[in-house]
Structures are given as C-alpha cells and as structure tokens.
Amino acid sequence: MSTIEEIVQGKGKFVDDIVLPGMQHMSVIRSNYSRGKILGISGGYTFKDFPAYMSSVGEGASEGEKNMREPVLADKYVNYIGEPVAAVLGKNRYEAEDLSEKVEIEIEPLTPMMDPEKSIDAPPVYPYMKSNIYKKVTLGRDFRTDGFEVEIEGHFNNRRVATNPIEPRGIVAAYEDNQLTVWISTQSVHSIKEGLSEVLSMPEDNIRVIQADTGGAFGLKGGLYSEYALAAFLAKKTGKPVKWIESRREHLMASRPGRGTSAFVKLYANRSGRILGMKGKVIVDSGAYSGGSGEFAARFVGMQMTGPYKIENAYVEAYPVFTNKVVQGPYRGAGRPEAHFFIERMIDMLADKLKMDPVDVRLINTVNSEFKSPLGMDVPPAKEFLEEAISKLNYRKLYKEKPGFAFFVLVPAFQPGETARIKIENNEVKVWLGGNTHGQRHDIFVKTLVNEGLGINRDLVHLQLGDTSMLKSGIGSWGSRSAMVGGMAVHEACKKIKQAFIAKNGIYSADALLKEGADEFVHWRGEGTMNSLGCNLVTCEVNDRGQVKVKECAAYYDVGRALSPEVVRGQVSGGMAQGIGQTLYEEIMYSDDGQLLTASIADAGVPIASQLPEYKVLLSNTRSNLATGAKGVGESPTIGVPIALSRAIENVTGVKITETPIRQELLLRSMKH
C-alpha cells in the first residue's frame, strides 16, 4: 500500500498505473438500447467465445434463479443500455477504441420497462417469468387498521444514484502456467477471487487477486463485474496481460448504482402523536438481472422501516422488480438511507397533521430500553440519546431558522466478522485485513490497535493492500464495519501473539517480540448485532430560482470509541457531502424510451465545493461492548442528511418533499404560486 506521503507526492500505485510487458488494452462494445433483440454481431469476442454467466459475490449480492443471471456478454437479447455485447483488444487504449468502432452490432429495439412501480403489474420482461417481481418479501405481521384515531399515508422515492468514486473501475489480468493473477481496485480481493473462480470455472487456488491503491469505492467495488471476468478470460485466451479501465460514461451506464427504491407507507397513531402501527410496500428497482443487491435490499429496507421508534404493529411487503436498467448495487448506506427516509418523512408528516413539533413526535415514540422491532431490527435504548442530540445540536435554539431533524439506527454489517493476519519479521509489523481499505485510512486504526495490543511503536506497523496469497480468507470493507470487525480481528491476533510469546518466554517484551517474529491469522466472528444511533440537523435557504444553500449541517453520532477521531470526522464530512448530493443534485436519469440522460459526471450531479457547507461533527464517545470499544460510522451521514435537509427545505418553502433528488424545478414551480 502506498503511504499517504507517497500519494500526496503523486507516487501512488493505482490500477491504471500498472504496466506489464506485452500488455493489451480491452475495449468493450455495449448495447445502445435499453432492450432489444440481437440480430447479428460481426467482429470482436462475443458470447460464443465466452458463454459464461455472472456469479454474485460481495456485499448483499444474491444469485437468483439460474435464468435470471446476467451473461458476461449479452446472448440473443440486450436488457439494459451499456450491457456488454463484445470486446476487442488493442496495444493501447487508442487502438482498442479504434478496433471497437469496427465491430458491428445489429439490434432490433424492443419497448423497455423503465418504471419499477409500473413493472410490478406489467407483462414480464422475461418470457419464462410470471411477472417482473423476482422475489416477494414480507416482514412483520399484517394487522387490522380500524379504530386508530389518526391515519396518514405517503408515497416516497429515492431515485438511482451513481457511486462515482473519482477513480473509476479497473483491472489488470495476467495468465501464466495455469495461474491467473489480477490487480484490481476493490473493497474485497476475496470476493473477486471467488467470483472469478465461478465464472471462469477455475479452482480458487489458481487465482491470485492483488489490490491496487483504490481511489474510492462507496459500495461500487465490492463485487464482480462482467468486464473483470472478460479481462481475465482474454488474458488466459491470448496469453498476454489485459488491462481494462472504465470510462466515466461507462461508469454511469454500466456500473451498479444504488438507491432506486420507492415506498407506499401508512402510519396509524393516536391524537397525542403515539404511533401504533406502520404498513409499507417497498419497490426496489433491481435492474435487468439477478446478482445485484435487489433481493437483499428489499428485505433490508423492510427491516428498518420502523426506524428507532417503538411501534407495536408493523407489516411490510417488499418487491425487488426487474427493469431494463443496469443491475442495482450497494451505494454508501445501501438500504439504510431509503428505509429511514420513508419512516422519517412520515414522522414529519404526522407532526404536521397533529400540529406538533416533529422532534416531540420523535421523543414520544422512543423508549429507554433495548428492543427488537416487529420487523426484526435491534433498536438500542433511544430516548436518552435523542434528548442529548436535541440539546447538543441546538435544535430548540435554532428553531426560528426552521431546522430539519433526523433520527436513525445505523445497522452495520457486523456478521460474519472479519479476518486479519499479523506478521512480525525483520523488526517490522505487517498487517493484512479481510476488508480492503479504499480511502478510509484503515492504516491508522491498525497502528493504534497494534500499539495498544503489543506495545509496538506505530511507525513500525504497516497495513498492506489486499492480496489473496497473503491472507487465506476475508469478507470485505463495506457496511460501516471495518474499524469495528476488522479492528477486533487485529485485536484478537495481537492477543494471541502476546499469549504465545508469554507461554514461551515467561515475560512479555515488545522488543524481544520484534526480534523473534510472529505470524498469526484470525477470523474474529461477530455474534448478534452492533447497532447504534445517530441524529442530524440541517438548516437551509432557498433562493427565488429554487436553488438550495445548506447553512447548518450538523451531526451527533454514537460511534463508540473513535479509534481515530480525525478519520471519523473525515468519514462524517464526506458522507454528509454525499447525503447533500443525493438530496439536491444526484440522479441517474433515463428518458421514457430508455436513453441515458446523465452521461457525464456533471450531469450525474456529484457536488462541487462551492455547493457545500462547512460541517459540524459531534460524537458521543460511548464505548461499545467490544474490547476495542468501536461502533460503526461510515454510512450514518448518508442516512441522516437527506432526511434533515428534505425537512429543512419543506420548512422553508412549504413544498412537500417526497423524493430525492429534490429537483430545482419542483421548488421553482411551487414557489411561484
């Protein structure tokens, strides 16, 4: 792993910086239609050369039925714009792109299904299916709704958002002596290895996956993609290394975006604001094939839909549905922001209906004991934290400025724990983690924990990039988990090393250990859950052109013990920017006939510095019951900020907010009247 000092001097080693002798560049020819029948392809490598189907690995991926799986290269039909149809190799990127121009694909366009809510009742995209619902999920128990004093309903939508790390996807693959080696920008080398093994029908032992410096990921780089399998296949077939680097346009059309989830929600309450029941119907825009996170997202969104509130009755039906779009995947938060947007918007609506302060409705519905919600979520004691947050975030004092407020449970991906290896040799400590750092600075907590566990100077401790040949198994870096579960794996490995040293030598000495050396692998397993709480407060101004300026953007989060306060602050600030982006600017948009309208990173709405505020980050440093004291943090801001900002805009403009992004024209139109 390049050190931060190297990166700041331009000496990092990202995947596009890797050059191998004889290396060829791959260019992918893609479908220009969202749905169509392939009449003919001339030139390039096609499905006939590589008749393989994608495997589903990584965060929240589910396989689905066999005939729902995505072919690596389209076979007979194309089902989303940007779907890979053929590939060519050239000696450099320019030549590969020239060659791709010579490949001719004839496609007869068919009417695409672009609207997930219409998809539920529409004729199936796939003739062998009864409907476009690929798996209906129900949570909780249905209940009678007569006799409640107050009933409100809402319909909400979080549109699709591209992950847009500044470094796009990329891979270099080389094949020699039955051995495939790939260098890749990733969150999980082990997921990539497992996926490549399945798609290429190669034993895992013959595959080595090495992480390059990874320039951001946000959920994008946890799983396998067609292009990775293709590059590996072509390296094997031609015997020469193959490099593929995604263009931004390819990213926006053919890499997995997140969100894309809507819901119909009903709340039942009494006149004093106590919520007695919640019913929801969730629709997840899963895209054209299984293998993404649609099925997982449906269940995961459903589970969180009572938020931190004690609501006795709850029932959710969730539908992952097929559309003619690229398969949906995780984007920072991955189901958490959606679920909380739905319930929190309903809480604000209930407050409006009852003419109460929305924060008081939240207080009435929280309790000071832990409980499991009827939908299956473990909710930590919430009332005291909420009271603290209201006070620390100055909600009452800022009331005149019409703040929006959010309260949520962060459900991190605690299970099934994580792996770590610590190797002490030549007076230096090398550490590998099963979850691969991609900008969150895992090296800092690793130094802290090795220093605490073994008394070794931080400067001697070096986190290594992911490498399947150096660490026998691993899960991945996602779901607000790394400091928590990766940290525990490091803690346990230190403990084992120390115990073994004492058993052998009697008394412990860090200096002697550094001379003697050690090598320990640990898979620390998380049992149960490690959920935590967070609140956000946002105020804003809206000008007469419908442009929103965020003023106060504050967070109060329970992150457990912050192993590195500066890293936590960075995580929260960056996440808040993404929360604002989703709320105001970001969207992957198609025309009704399925053409992609957001084909540059500017169209897709990634926020710029002049659009964003200064952040206020407050932490409740309450240790968790883990030995390290850590809890999750990474996804909290993407949950809380859209909720608080939506409400702030509603407060200032009077326009009812039901979806993100909040389009400027909506605010403009409503303000003119």
């Binding site: 331009g10 450099n92 790390p165 540059s600």
Partner: protein
C-alpha cells in the same frame, strides 16, 4: 495516424518526442513520460483529477492535445517536491487530512498551487470557488479548504518564483 514531433519542458526537464497528433496531454504525461501521479477521472473536463500547470496556468490535461503543449512548460505533481522535501501544499494536505483515497489529490494540489500564487490571501469561499472545477468524492471538501488555507500561510513567495520561472521556459 499522423506523427508529430514536440518539444516540451516537464518539471524543468526538456523532452523531445514523436507523438500521434491525437494523443491527449494526460496520456503523454502518464504513458510516454511515466509520470502517473496525474490521474484520469472523468474524461470530460469535469473532475479535474488530471489538472496540471501549462505555462503556469491550470489545464485539465484529459482534454488538451499533447501537441498543444509544444514549446511550452508543464508542471505536474511530481515537479512540486524538492528531492525528499515536500512542497508546503503537500505538507498541508497531510497535516489537515486533505485527502482520503488520494485519487483527486494531485489535481487539487495543482489547482491550489495556482490559486495561492494568484491570491495568497484567498478566503474560504474564494478557495471553494477556485476548486469547484475539481471533484472530490471522499472528504466533502472542508478538509481540502483547510489544507489550502494552511498552505497559503506557509508558502514563501520567493521560493515559488523559481517554479514559475521554469514554467516560462526561461
């Protein structure tokens, strides 16, 4: 393919190369010269990861032809440090957590370099405006603004004159 000869000064070193006329400046810098600190993020002049200084002015090298740099002087991220001694902007980015994944950083530092020379007393809002052609997806920008503010306090004007002189190809 039409081949052309160009002569450019990169980080105070003169290079004479035969290049394809359609070669982009960023590919010339990365592939021909092997200076991979300059990155490509969006291919469309939006993200600024490819920002370099061309005769002292920032350009997005993903949409400039290498030919357009003929006879001119280029400074990339690799040209900022003096041997092992990091440039004050680089130090400030380390000090103020101005980077997380580091992919946008070279572009941010180059634009900061231009800004500080032009306006050594830039306010936070002016800094935000100046870096608004450079995207960062990790930090939310506030720590980048902190870094640039700190750097502007630590940069010695005379020291910067040397780099500018080199860029003018004197």
């Amino acid at each position: 393919m039409s081949v052309n000869k160009i002569k450019v000064t990169v980080n105070n070193k003169v290079f004479e190369e035969e290049i394809d006329s359609r070669l982009l400046l960023v590919d010339f810098i990365r592939e021909n010269l092997g200076l991979t600190g300059t990155h490509v993020g969006c291919d469309t002049t939006n993200c600024g990861a490819c920002t370099v200084l061309l005769d002292g002015k920032p350009v997005k090298s993903c949409t400039v032809f290498a030919l357009q740099a003929n006879g001119k002087s280029i400074t990339t991220i690799e040209g900022l440090s003096h041997g092992k001694e990091m440039h004050p902007i680089q130090k400030a980015f380390l000090d103020k957590n101005g980077l997380q994944c580091g992919y946008c950083t070279a572009g941010m530092i180059m634009i900061a370099h231009w800004l500080i020379r032009k306006n050594p007393e830039a306010t936070r809002d002016e800094i935000r405006e100046a870096i608004s052609g450079n995207l960062c997806r990790c930090t939310g920008y506030d720590s980048i603004v902190d870094s640039i503010q700190e750097a502007s306090q630590n940069m010695i004007p005379e020291e910067e004159e040397d780099i500018t002189a080199g860029q003018r190809g004197r």
